[in-house]
């Protein structure tokens, strides 16, 4: 019997033969996409794509989006789904804004992030411990959070910060260092933390094992319910941080701030290479997916493609990625 049946043979030393397509294929596609947009720019179809100001802005957008994508990745890694991210973002951002108005910056930010964390915990609890289907939990939570956010604001936009508060917020949200947005540093910091968490801690291992095969993980002594709970909790925290950065960039928010943002985060996650089956993907994939989606959408905008057409593009992208990954799985 061939003992190494089907194992990838790597005899050649050349770069192309050693290239891990599964892992870095999207990175290659991303670079190609950038080149194509650059060529289009040289030909005059696209304005200002590869240009310092635009790149800075897009990196800022990407670094804000990255947090929820990372949260979604965590949840997808344990074969769950978090549909409540968007409305939870609305809720935590309005709570945060109101908190800043009433109690000052620090307390307000903590309140907002705390609110998101709490709902992340509730999601996780219902999925991991009570064992309701993740999809039903988070879909219900979508409406519950959205409802609370709307009740809370009564449809108003909250923006009446004092000048000082505005300055501090924008200093965090909008400062650039040599054209590199400050939020990127926060995102990189968070990326490193999450990377270490997933790759270098017991919890991270448990996440991968639970997502890959829940029964095997349970028989290896892992409390899979707890692991799931923590993943949803992390997703909640990520949403909280996103809502802070969102508020910092644009010191105003309303009850619809995160409307349908979960779709973008799902798309970026799945395009990045984290699958719905769980156990495959990770934070790196989330980062690549985020960059890819952000720049793709930006390029399309500059090409003159409308908002809703972009939504369709996102949908097609998602379903393509899903079909491709599920085909791969079946083989």
């Amino acid at each position: 019997m061939a003992n190494i049946a089907g194992a990838p043979a790597r005899p050649s030393a050349s770069f192309l033969a050693n290239f891990n397509y599964e892992k870095y294929g999207l990175l290659a596609v991303f670079i190609m996409m950038m080149i194509i947009f650059y060529i289009l720019q040289l030909m005059g179809y696209v304005n200002n794509f590869i240009e310092a100001h635009n790149l800075t802005n897009q990196l800022r957008n990407a670094s804000i989006l990255f947090f929820i994508v990372a949260g979604q990745s965590m949840v997808l890694l344990v074969s769950g789904i978090d549909l409540s991210q968007g409305s939870l973002l609305s809720l935590s951002s309005v709570v945060m804004a109101q908190g800043i108005l009433d109690f000052g910056l620090a307390v307000g930010v903590l309140m907002g992030i705390g609110m998101a964390t709490m709902f992340g915990f509730i999601n996780g609890y219902l999925v991991g411990r009570v064992k309701i289907q993740p999809f039903i939990v988070t879909l219900s939570m979508l409406f519950i959070c959205a409802g609370i956010a709307l009740v809370f604001t009564g449809g108003r936009t909250i923006h009446q910060f004092t000048g000082e508060q505005k300055d501090i917020l924008q200093a965090i949200g909008l400062t650039d260092f040599f054209h590199i947005p400050g939020t990127l540093f926060i995102a990189i910091f968070f990326f490193i933390i999450l990377y270490l968490l997933t790759k270098r801690t017991v919890l991270g291992r448990a996440i991968y094992l639970t997502g890959g095969n829940e029964e095997a993980a349970r028989l290896s002594g892992i409390d899979t319910g707890k692991v799931k709970l923590v993943c949803y909790l992390i997703s909640g925290i990520c949403v909280g941080i996103t809502s802070f950065l969102y508020l910092a960039r644009l010191p105003a928010t309303n009850g619809l701030a995160g409307f349908q943002l979960e779709f973008q985060s799902l798309a970026a996650t799945v395009v990045g290479g984290t699958t719905f089956h769980g156990g495959e993907g990770g934070v790196t994939q989330a980062a690549i997916g985020t960059l890819f989606l952000t720049f793709l959408l930006n390029g399309l905008i500059l090409l003159g493609v409308g908002t809703f057409a972009r939504e369709v593009v996102v949908g097609v992208l998602l379903i393509t990625a899903v079909v491709l990954s599920s085909r791969k799985r079946r083989e």
């Binding site: 009570v130 094992l209 028989l219």
Partner: protein, 652 residues
Amino acid sequence: MSESKNLLRMLKIDKSFPGVHALKEVDFDLGEGEVHILLGENGAGKSTLIKILAGIYHADSGQIEISETPTIIPDARTGRDLGISVIYQELNLVPDLSVAKNIFLGREPVLPGVMRRVDWARVEQESRAIMERLDVKIDVNAPVRSLSVADQQMVEIARALAFDSKILVMDEPTSSLSGHEIEELFKAVTRLREHGVGIIYISHRLEEVHEIGDRVTVLRDGEYMGTWEVKDVELDFLITQMVGRTLDEKFPWTPRARGEVALRVRGLTRNGVFEDINFDLHYGEIVGLSGLVGAGRTEVARAVMGADTVDSGTVEMTNATKEKEEIQKLPHYPLWMALVDVVVFMLALPLFTVIFQGIYDPFTLNMNSPPPLFSANWFYEWILGGPLYNIPNGPTPYIVAAGLALIRQVGLWFLERQYRWRTLVIDFASWYALAIGAMVITSLFTQNFVLEWVMIWGGIAMVAIRFLTILTHERKWTPTLAIRRGLGLLPEDRKTQGLTQVLSVAYNTTSANIRRLIKRWLLNLTMEKDLVDEHINQLKIMTPDQETQIRFLSGGNQQKVVLAKWLFRRANVLIFDEPTRGIDVGAKFEVHSQMLQLAEDGAAVMMISSELPEILGMSDRILVMREGRLTADIDRNEATQEGILRYAMTAD
């Protein structure tokens, strides 16, 4: 050959799978109105033969004649059209459709006309006719779900009859039936025989051979041993025919000293699966657990591991602590206490509100008195979120609340033995932190009184959910606990239960004891690499590198990874469930030597196997299970294949 007409003849059927010669020129025939019993050990080739007959497998060589005409059965459909029906052990019915609909599923008769309406009247009528033919009383309009297992089996038989089957294969039909139900089944079989149906009957109960069989054929190791008239043979003769597999395989067995008791199992019972299992496992000992497939061996192993719940019984690991782990249901958190908690919370709410919010009605700033408890207004204001008044209704609720809280605390103290300190603290803290937290956040937004009740009720919902989960939670022996005590299980189905296919060899190897890799808060990947390499070398796992995903490895290497996982865990009581099934000879020997090495190093090993030579070759002591009960505990020196098979197949 029987005197009646020949329905089926299989000649020189030969079939090989990669690595296994499953059938070696087997002959088989079946006459009209005959019950032909097919006997053989696990893996003797019975099911392969049946699958060839049903068209699921194709014979490598040989001939099948049905009603004296040579036939080729390319697929299951053709098999069915030729009148061959197989009733498998697991029932193939749709639970929510009626009996009649199940019988005719896929071939409903159609009324003439464009609409092609189904002739349900005919479906019902014919189903009823078949039931009459079988002489069983089953309401053909009842959903199959509502029938007993025996009746469901009758429905399967009826379904086969509705196909006009001439040949009916029954694969262990009595394995899940009780005595009375078996009688019913036999009656039905007798009737079928009278109608000229030929029945191939596979059974593990040797008593049944004389009860209903006409002829009996024995297979051994894929070889045809012979066919006899039932009345001419004794059970002992059949057993000797079934065993006698060659023992030429080499097993690395050496005598060892037997140590202390490592695992003590007492009275383990899961209703309908296994009953009153008692055994001890000693350090330095290899115990073989034998029995036929379906006797409940795997289930016992999983129960010992804590993977499945049991109805009663205890598992005791003697290594770590002397404490006894009860695995039967214990009330973890009694109902009355949960109710007290709810009441305390409800009554204490106004108190919290007052503390954190001050005494005023946020909307009207009126100092209204609140509605009386449980009145219609109270319901409106508390449940539906009407204006919330904050003035307590006199001191009574608080006194009651405090009293109840006290009772709760005292109760918890009394229950401490079941309700450990840590759990107690966590429960208490989380419970009150939640309530207080909800109130704090709420009170911060006094102008949004609606948020307030949303938060309150959200908090209550959380608490209620916590109660419900605590209520349903059993204090039980879980895999986590078992592994912490040093137990390890190599499951029968390693692909889905032992390993995570999409993850790497390294991840899988370390999965049972990830903590071992921690160095200064993080996992030390260098150490992991070294340790995993060590295990790969020790077990001679053939893999390109540690990062290779498990699914790219062969079966034997996958099994070695599962073993590596437990070696990495340094488990000292190991249960191997069918450790060598489907793996090649080299890997098999490797697994056996490792097992021996473990025992020599002082671990307690239990091996479940369907292969008698393996059991005889490796075990110091052999336990035999039959239909959910332990029937024998035989020493190595006294064990023979016949003896084991007798315990596994016949009632005492």
